[in-house]
């Protein structure tokens, strides 16, 4: 036993020395590599920054013709710049990438066996907003690795080709758990031309698909689908979709939403829908909704009463009158919500709320 222990001690001592030497060596090599990279990148980096500050043809030519051994040191910085630049500066730098054949190579790499390589190049294609890559990115939406799918979703949003909308929505139809909010964000980036595909998705069998379409419509702010969304509030079998539709109607600001939203305030509606409808009515700014929202202040569910109070605050005069009346009412629950909203309104607009309301006279 003692011999075994002494051998163990010797082995441990050897391992300890090896780790100390390895740690020191790793640091030495890393620092040397970093210094060397910084030295090699200094010139090309100056070139890149000058081009980003003032894009011109000669600068683009120099970057496009830069030897690969120099370019590789500044490519990460160039990519980071792409994310920060807008307008002509972005276009000029993206063209440099294109002229270097980086986008074409990235498209080829989307077929790599490694999911990390596929995802990295999908990310690159998104950063370049490379239109011709849309079909390849759409193909990655069916990739066996869900991380690749997520990157492809985001990349398609950056590319902005509205023809990708159905494929993006289809990712939500399968058994795989794909983050719906990322799909909604990408659909929004496709712009108003994606609205027809979003309206078609309102009839999709998967609730997540319908919900995502409704969310994207709200963020797009295009009023065309208002009537269709208004119909969803009462008709859709899935509560989450109905709630999302209520929110979207508030975001779209269309008068057609008033009636279904007021109807959704009824006590028979689920609490979530009541709260979402109240919030949407506040966003719509319809003074005629004030009495219905005032009645909701007495709702036993905190979120509903709170949403009603906030909505009344947003309605201005008629809403503030409802709140002032409720603040003086017999129900402490109702009065407390009203007082909270009035205090917040006073913060937002002291002059307006200081004016006596008819109820106070």
């Amino acid at each position: 036993m003692n011999d075994a222990l002494i051998i163990t001690v010797i082995v441990l001592a050897g391992v300890a020395v090896a780790i100390i030497v390895a740690t020191t060596l790793i640091r030495f090599l890393r620092l040397r590599r970093e210094r060397r990279q910084a030295r090699l990148a200094a010139g090309p980096r100056r070139e890149l920054l000058a081009f980003a500050a003032e894009p011109d043809a000669s600068g683009a030519d120099r970057l496009a013709a830069m030897p690969q051994r120099q370019w590789q040191h500044i490519e990460p910085a160039a990519l980071a710049l792409l994310g920060k630049l807008r307008g002509d500066g972005y276009q000029a730098l993206a063209q440099v990438f294109d002229r270097r054949g980086i986008a074409e190579e990235a498209i080829r790499q989307t077929r790599s066996r490694s999911p990390v390589v596929r995802a990295r190049h999908a990310e690159l294609l998104g950063a370049l907003r490379h239109g011709p890559a849309a079909p390849d990115l759409a193909r990655l939406l069916r990739d066996r690795d869900v991380e690749v799918v997520v990157v492809a979703i985001r990349a398609l949003g950056h590319v902005g080709d509205p023809r990708a909308a159905p494929a993006l929505l289809d990712t939500l139809a399968g058994d795989r758990s794909v983050p719906a909010h990322l799909v909604a964000q990408s659909l929004t980036q496709l712009g108003p031309d994606a609205v027809p595909a979003l309206m078609d998705a309102l009839a999709a069998p998967a609730a997540t698909e319908r919900l995502t379409a409704v969310q994207a419509m709200g963020m797009l702010g295009d009023p065309r689908p208002s009537r269709a969304v208004a119909g969803v509030i009462a008709a859709d079998p899935d509560l989450a979709v109905r709630v999302a539709a209520a929110r979207t109607l508030g975001e779209l600001g269309a008068r057609v939403g008033l009636e279904p939203l007021v109807a959704a305030l009824a006590p028979r509606s689920p609490p979530d829908l009541r709260a979402a409808a109240a919030t949407a009515l506040g966003a719509l700014g319809a003074p005629t909704a004030a009495p219905a929202l005032g009645a909701l202040l007495n709702d036993p569910i905190y979120q509903v009463a709170h949403a009603a109070a906030r909505a009344l605050r947003r309605l201005g005069g008629p809403g503030l009158n409802e709140l002032t009346g409720a603040a003086a009412g017999p129900s402490e629950w109702t009065a407390a919500h009203a007082r909270e909203a009035l205090a917040m309104a006073a913060l937002a607009n002291p002059a307006r709320t200081a004016r006596p309301s008819p109820l106070e006279v």
Binding site: T23, V178, M219, A240, A244, I301, Y302, L347
Partner: protein, 520 residues
């Protein structure tokens, strides 16, 4: 007599096996952590942090800062949190009946105005809410709640009630977060919103770092040996250990200094337990218990970078108090959730993580101190010879030393946060010194923590006297006028204690051993 000698001999061999097992388990966790860090590094180029930052659909976060007598640092803490990079978040400071000027300082700096608020009762709390304040310049961004003293968990519960957003981030007022820390801990929720229940960020030691305007701008080893040893301990236990457990799907500790939770699940679990010292770890274990029991497919994820920085105790008295608390908390959690230990119903948590914490965390100080008594006793009685005793000690502590060195190696390979050569040298020395008194003191404090748990008694906030960070500078500008007086806050109980969780669920779920006291 012979039987006694045989027992002593057997005990000594058992101790040897125990120390070998404990350090081997750490070695396994280190290997798993290395895999996790490699995976993290390979995926960083396409993590999509900038997209998260720009998207209006990135889940908004309610940051809850419980505070008790944090007057000297509270303004800088709120300013630093407010400057974090994240699309939408609110800050809720819950003052738990401070006897200093915590609220006054906040009021002066942020133009707080007292506004009445209805306090929902989604989770139970005991300390009465006295007043609520919002910032006159950003009413939806900063809420300060002043309540009667009820303890940290009670303060957190009030914050949970007041939170408007689907994700809750609980941070200590004396923590310093990296600018992109929120983005990093929220990332798993973005990628897997249906399954991720909670994420924990890594906490590193801020002593020795230069902190300017609530940001760590230069990382360095502490100037004192006690915190230096804790740096090694944190690397091994909090960074590598938890990353390893996360890889195994067995993470049961998320530091109270930096964790992110789904609010609907926290409310379903009943909020923070005010009768347990380690409320942060207890919540995670309770989430595991509830989610496993309902057959839910869920994940609790550890995020290794970026980080939150926290000041470590620099005196033996403060360190001892902290470790007693931690170990008492661990004991209370394991007793409370004893039915989960070894229970296959709770999967890897029941079969792997909790038994490990019981054997190699809770009982480690008992075994270590028994060894300190029984090995010399065996030597004195002639049950073991001197050669065995010194070899035993060299193997037990040598193995632990190698594990600490391996943690330093992994740090160098992955994050290499300590840039100076001197820091690396100090790290090697600290890994040696750790075994010469520190571990034994730790075991003594932990044993007292177990005794504290057995005796029960009052829970306190468990704060240690802050020394302040090197170069610490508040960004506080000149004091501004306090807002207009307004009515006192309202705490109206709902007629029906109902919490509507559907909104959060809809919002988030719409898509398809050693001495490493572990609950800090």
């Amino acid at each position: 007599m012979e039987t006694l000698l045989s027992l002593l001999r057997a005990a000594d061999y058992a101790f040897l096996l125990y120390f070998a097992a404990i350090n081997t388990s750490y070695l396994v966790l280190l290997v798993l952590a290395a895999q996790e860090f490699g995976r993290h590094a390979r995926r960083a180029p396409f993590a999509g942090a900038d997209d998260m930052l720009r998207s209006p659909l990135t889940f908004p976060i309610s940051i809850i800062v419980p505070a008790y007598n944090e007057g000297p640092g509270i303004v800088a803490a709120v300013q630093a949190i407010a400057a974090l990079e994240y699309p939408t978040f609110e800050i809720i400071v819950v003052d738990d009946g401070s006897t200093d000027d915590t609220v006054d300082r906040l009021r002066d700096q942020f133009q707080l105005v007292a506004t009445p608020r209805v306090v929902p009762s989604a989770v139970a709390y005991t300390g009465q809410v006295r007043a609520t304040y919002v910032s006159a310049t950003n009413p939806d961004g900063l809420l300060v709640v002043s309540k009667a003293n009820g303890g940290k968990a009670d303060a957190l519960n009030v914050g949970i009630n007041m939170a408007r957003f689907p994700l809750l981030c609980m941070v200590d007022a004396d923590s310093v977060m990296d600018p992109r820390a929120l983005l990093a801990v929220a990332k798993p929720f973005v990628d897997d919103p249906v399954r991720v229940a909670a994420t924990g960020g890594v906490v590193r030691i801020a002593n020795g770092c230069r902190v300017v305007a609530g940001r760590v701008v230069e990382v360095g080893m502490p100037r004192q040996w006690l915190p230096r040893i804790q740096v090694i301990e944190y690397l091994r236990a909090f960074l590598m250990g938890r990353a390893g457990w996360s890889r195994l799907g067995g993470l049961v500790v998320i530091s109270g200094a930096f964790g992110l939770f789904r609010r609907d699940l926290v409310v379903l679990a009943g909020g923070m337990a005010s009768d347990c010292i380690g409320e942060d770890a207890e919540l995670v274990v309770r989430l595991h218990r509830r989610l496993s029991a309902t057959g839910g497919d869920y994940r609790v994820v550890f995020v290794s970078e970026p980080v939150s920085w926290s000041e470590a105790p620099s005196t033996l008295a403060a360190l001892g108090k902290q470790r007693r608390r931690w170990h008492r908390g661990l004991a209370e959690i394991l007793v409370r959730h004893r039915r989960m230990i070894g229970n296959p119903r709770y999967g890897r948590i029941g079969l792997l993580a909790l038994p490990w914490y019981l054997q190699f965390e809770l009982l480690a100080p008992v075994v270590e101190l028994l060894a300190v008594v029984l090995v010399p006793a065996g030597l004195y009685a002639g049950a073991v010879n001197v050669d065995f005793a010194w070899r035993f000690l060299l193997v037990a502590y040598g193995y632990a030393f190698v594990i600490s060195l391996a943690a330093l190696l992994l740090e160098e390979l992955s994050f290499h946060r300590y840039p100076r050569w001197r820091d690396l040298g100090l790290g090697f020395v600290a890994a040696v010194i750790e075994n010469l008194g520190y571990r034994q003191l730790m075991a003594w404090w932990q044993l007292r923590g177990i005794w504290d748990a057995v005796r029960g008694g009052r829970h306190d906030w468990g704060r240690h006297q802050r020394q302040g960070f090197h170069g610490d500078q508040s960004t506080a500008g000149p004091p501004v006028a306090v807002g207009q007086p307004a009515p006192r806050g309202v705490s109206a109980a709902a007629p029906k204690e109902t919490e509507n969780r559907l909104h959060q669920i809809d919002t988030l779920g719409s898509s398809s051993r050693s001495t490493d006291g572990g609950i800090g």
